[in-house]
Symmetry: C2
Subunit: 235 residues, 2 copies
DNA sequence: TTCTATTAATAAAA
DNA sequence: TTTTATTAATAGAA
């Protein structure tokens, strides 16, 4: 249970130098050293996604994972396919958190349109990005949206909800106005909608060489808010 | 590399019976046997959440995981605290998938209200639904709401969105009417709002005995549609 | 669930 | 990143 390098004639490192002393047990608590923390994050994030991928394939489960590394970069995992897991309940009921069930097909249609547009935008982003697991050029935030479910509504709530919608609508109008104003034609793209600022990375390749079946899983890494790489360009 | 039980005088199992032959390598492909699949799901799901928990603690990352087991039960993992990870960009940027950054605090307020309301609606659905991995009884599914991010809204989109809101409002009204009708006072609780139909399991205990620090992570298991255990009561 | 024998994930170091 | 030496996760069986 204790095996240290020591087989007689091997005390010098003239050949077969023990390159590492192997894995060591660690306590599960925040890693102080920034560098180590980053390395660990990278390794374990990949491990996590791989596990998720396997779970999906092995059991047919559908999984979505969002990881915010130190509040900076966002890593996404989805299975099956992009926005599907998710897509099923997300796109299917997106836009309006839990209204999918209530609202009809037409609303759904809108959602689908929305989803479509989203994808294009995404592709666009990927297109223009320089997929480096690190650098952020100049971004805006909140690329990912998601809301957790677990809950209930009654008639009264519906009324409240309706009122909220009214409110929301006003906000939207106001917001639109703001955009109108801020959207100065001096820049080629709307400053608020500059897709170029998003870094998006598909990471199928993480598993391709290991579990071919895992190929259809989808994971992305995007940079949410801001753009400065405070963490050394990696996590 | 091949070690089968066989040390001379140990062919009978009169004592020291090898209880297991240990782990065996498996191919990452869907497990055919339902039972095994369920067991594997249970074990690996816990493993996945534990990994996530560790990653959070070790590196300060924020993670949210949604797992749909065979389309039936939903398992949620969040760190830190419920709806926080998430809460940050979800609640924070909800309603308008990627507009969090753009909209102000007041909108946020609305979102929060919305989130609350949403939860209730969802439970309602769970109440009334009887879902099958692929079967849709009536309507659209989507208990959980979440939308993937990678996206942006422009002025045009805002307009569309606004129009949608108008639509939605109508739907809500209609829905309210339906509820009004269906909500027959014959049952003690509103049949549509019975929270008891929701199975909710916090699973802090999954880690408490292993990584005390992991205790603050939050994971839940809920039964989305209906509550019948079609899968043998476990997954 | 629980118990091992093994395989898989990884902490350190390079 | 890549390489080990170890620790951690788990497939199978009970």
């Amino acid at each position: 249970m204790e095996k240290t390098r020591d087989n007689g004639m091997m005390n010098n490192n003239m050949m077969m130098k023990k390159t590492t002393q192997g894995r060591k047990k660690i306590e599960i608590k925040k890693i102080d050293n920034l560098s180590n923390r980053q390395v660990t994050f990278s390794k374990r994030r990949v491990g996590l996604f791989k596990k998720a991928s396997e779970l999906c394939i092995l059991t047919g489960a559908e999984i979505a994972i969002i990881v915010y590394s130190l509040g900076k970069r966002v890593f996404l995992f989805e299975h099956p396919t992009s926005g599907s897991v998710i897509g099923r309940y997300a796109r299917g009921s997106s836009m309006f958190p839990n209204e999918a069930f209530h609202v009809g097909a037409d609303i759904l249609e809108h959602k689908q349109h929305y989803a479509r547009v989203s994808k294009q935008l995404e592709a666009e982003k990927q297109r223009k990005e320089m997929i480096e697991d690190s650098k952020i050029v100049n971004g805006v935030g909140g690329y990912f949206w998601w809301d957790d479910p677990i809950d209930n509504l009654g008639l009264d709530e519906l009324e409240q909800y309706m009122a909220s919608l009214e409110e929301l609508k006003k906000k939207v109008v106001m917001r639109a106005d703001e955009l109108m104003i801020m959207n100065n034609p001096s820049s080629s793209t709307s400053p608020l909608i500059d897709v170029n600022s998003t870094t998006s990375i598909t990471c199928d390749d993480f598993f391709l060489n290991q579990q071919p079946a895992a190929a259809d899983q989808y994971c992305t890494s995007i940079v949410p808010y801001g753009s400065h790489d405070l963490t050394n360009g990696h996590v």
